[in-house]
């Protein structure tokens, strides 16, 4: 197992290098730069700024410098907020996004798995249709519509939670539900399919024939194999939740990495955009690895060697 993890981590290095290289050159060939102000700056000032950020050097020298800094874990200074380095910015905003994402994922799992299992066990009956209709709706309705509905009903009409903001527990509920809802729908579909597959198996029939009670069969024999499809979805889901949080963070005005990424992209703050992409990609690769390892524990038929 250790050897497998090691191999995967080494295999991730070229992927990250490709991402960094691609992002670097994409950003540099872009017309217009971070210092295009509304009022044209005097050429001397521009030359000074460019010298400060090494933008006057040939491209390959800049690339090499960026790579060397990156290797030391330094993502460089922000072009637009001179008082901040990209590292500080990430350190400040990433935890916010992680908290939001974790709650959203937990919500999705707590709603999706039971809904899917109930649908599978009451196949072609009312609960099944209800759960699956909910699933299609959950996948189709855009985040910002859900957010708008929740804000209006819960925050404005009932006055229970705040419309937007960050810092208290009451601020996390609405964004987490908004962000988690489509994934709850997806997970419901997957766990329904997983459970349908499992309850057809011979060993479940054997367990029934032994006279085990239905809850014992479900929890001890059927649960683990039935959530396997959900586990393998967690990698892509984590990616999608990170992406989805761009929108949710904007709506609920949450100072997370997603919101920051969009602002930097609009401002052409190249170092900030690249830093964010690198952080996100690394997290994604790590998360996919975790999911594969967890899969190995849940499904003894899979061996990593």
């Amino acid at each position: 197992m250790t050897a497998y993890i090691g191999r995967r981590l080494i295999g991730a290095i070229p992927t990250i290098l490709i991402i960094v290289t691609f992002a670097f050159f994409m950003m540099r060939i872009a017309p217009g730069g971070p210092f295009d102000a509304e009022r044209a700056l005097p050429p001397d000032v521009i030359r000074n700024i460019e010298a400060k950020y090494h933008l006057d050097e040939p491209l390959h020298v800049q690339y090499w410098r960026y790579m060397k800094d990156l290797f030391r874990g330094d993502l460089g200074p922000s072009f637009k907020s001179p008082d901040w380095t990209v590292n500080e910015m990430v350190a400040r905003t990433l935890p916010v996004s992680l908290i939001l994402g974790t709650w959203a994922l937990l919500f999705a799992l707590c709603i999706g798995i039971p809904a899917g299992f109930i649908a599978a066990l009451r196949r072609n009956a009312a609960p099944d249709y209800a759960a699956m209709t909910f699933a299609v709706i959950g996948i189709s309705v855009p985040n910002f519509v859900v957010a708008a509905l929740l804000m209006n009903l819960v925050a404005v009409k009932l006055g229970v939670l705040d419309v937007a903001g960050w810092g208290q527990w009451r601020h996390v509920v609405l964004p987490a539900v908004t962000l988690g809802l489509p994934y709850a729908a997806y997970i419901a579909r997957l766990s329904r399919a997983g459970m349908l597959e499992v309850i057809r198996q011979d060993y479940v029939r054997t367990a029934r024939a032994k006279g085990l009670s239905e809850p014992v069969i479900l929890l001890r024999h059927a649960f683990k194999p039935a959530i396997l499809p959900v586990v393998s979805f967690l990698g892509p889901a984590a990616a999608a939740i990170l992406t989805g949080s761009l929108v949710v963070e904007k709506i609920f005005q949450i100072p997370g990495l997603g919101w920051h990424f969009v602002t930097s992209a609009l401002n052409r703050d190249y170092t900030m955009v690249m830093g964010t992409v690198i952080v996100y990609s690394s997290m994604l690769i790590l998360f996919n690895l975790l999911v594969d390892v967890a899969y190995g524990f849940l499904d003894p038929r899979i061996r990593y060697d």
Partner: protein, 301 residues
């Protein structure tokens, strides 16, 4: 809606006389699926509205009326007005044109790249296939939305760039499906026959392989359109997609979000138009998959 059902009934009856082909059979199954047919009908209406908008829209797209700012839905303005007093229903109708166009065009781009790439990999096989599919695996691990954002920022925020960028990241699953199909087609007799007749690889790919792998690809096509439309809406919502004076459902919703507590209809109507369309597409896609799937199983036997 009724006219459409009648028309579709007519086609099915006409082709039934020609015997049960794969498509007639699938069509019959699809017609029995009420949700899928409802989806098809809703889409028909949406497309018709989008096409006819310049003729039937009650107001001009950019007609500003400063006496009627932020009006709630009323008889003169069924969906209310926005912060410049523009009629929201007109804008939602024009938004349908751009949202649907981006969804379809971007999916076509992804279809073109994915099918070409996948069919080639699956048909050639061997080491080339291995390398090509490893590349797809690597791309799968990337946070794609970020690359779309970088692409759009770098290349400029025009609609053309938007659907190229979205299409360029959506082809991965399409290529996997096309590859799987191409691999099974490769060993069929009619391919050997074509080879014996002296046809080269490009010719065989175009005339024999690609037409035969379209079934599952069409199902996935229907399911990709809503995904792309949702992504376009996200981008426009963030201010990175469709730019004024153009408007899509996503950018209309984005204009509405600022005043959500005061004038909620400004985000609800474009949002609901999008949600209903996505729902219809998803139901249709699921229905198509169910309709084609039993045939796939039979074919495999």
């Amino acid at each position: 809606m009724k006219g459409e059902e009648k028309k579709s009934g007519g086609t099915a009856a006409a082709s039934a006389t020609r015997g049960r082909s794969l498509w007639t059979d699938a069509w019959r199954r699809l017609r029995r699926n009420r949700m899928a047919m409802a989806g098809l009908a809703i889409l028909g209406v949406m497309v018709a509205v989008a096409l006819l908008t310049p003729l039937i829209a009650p107001y001009g797209f950019a007609d500003i009326s400063l006496e009627e700012q932020n009006q709630p839905p009323c008889r003169a303005h069924w969906m209310g007005t926005d912060h410049l007093g523009r009629d929201l229903m007109t804008r939602v109708m024009y938004g349908a044109r751009i949202s649907l166009a981006v969804g379809i065009c971007a999916t076509l781009v992804s279809l073109f790249i994915g099918v070409t790439y996948g069919a080639l990999a699956g048909f050639v096989g061997g080491r080339a296939d291995n390398v090509m599919m490893r590349f797809v695996d690597v791309l799968y691990g990337l946070p794609f939305m970020f690359f779309v954002i970088i692409l759009v920022v770098v290349a400029g925020r025009s609609i053309i760039n938007l659907f190229i960028a979205l299409g360029a990241v959506q082809w991965l699953t399409m290529s996997r499906i096309a590859r799987g199909q191409a691999m099974s087609i490769r060993s069929r007799d009619f391919i050997t026959a074509a080879r014996t007749c002296g046809a080269g690889t490009p010719r065989i790919l175009l005339t024999h392989v690609i037409p035969n792998l379209l079934g599952p690809v069409i199902v996935y096509f229907t399911l990709t359109i809503p995904a792309v439309m949702l992504e376009e809406a996200f981008l426009s919502f963030l201010g990175l997609g469709v730019q004024p004076p153009n408007a899509s459902w996503g950018s209309l919703a984005s204009e509405g979000i600022g005043s959500i507590t005061l004038y909620p209809w400004q985000i609800f109507f474009p949002g609901f138009a999008l949600a209903v369309t996505l729902l219809a597409l998803n139901f249709l896609g699921d229905g198509l998959r169910d309709a084609l799937d039993p045939l796939m199983k039979e074919a495999r036997k």
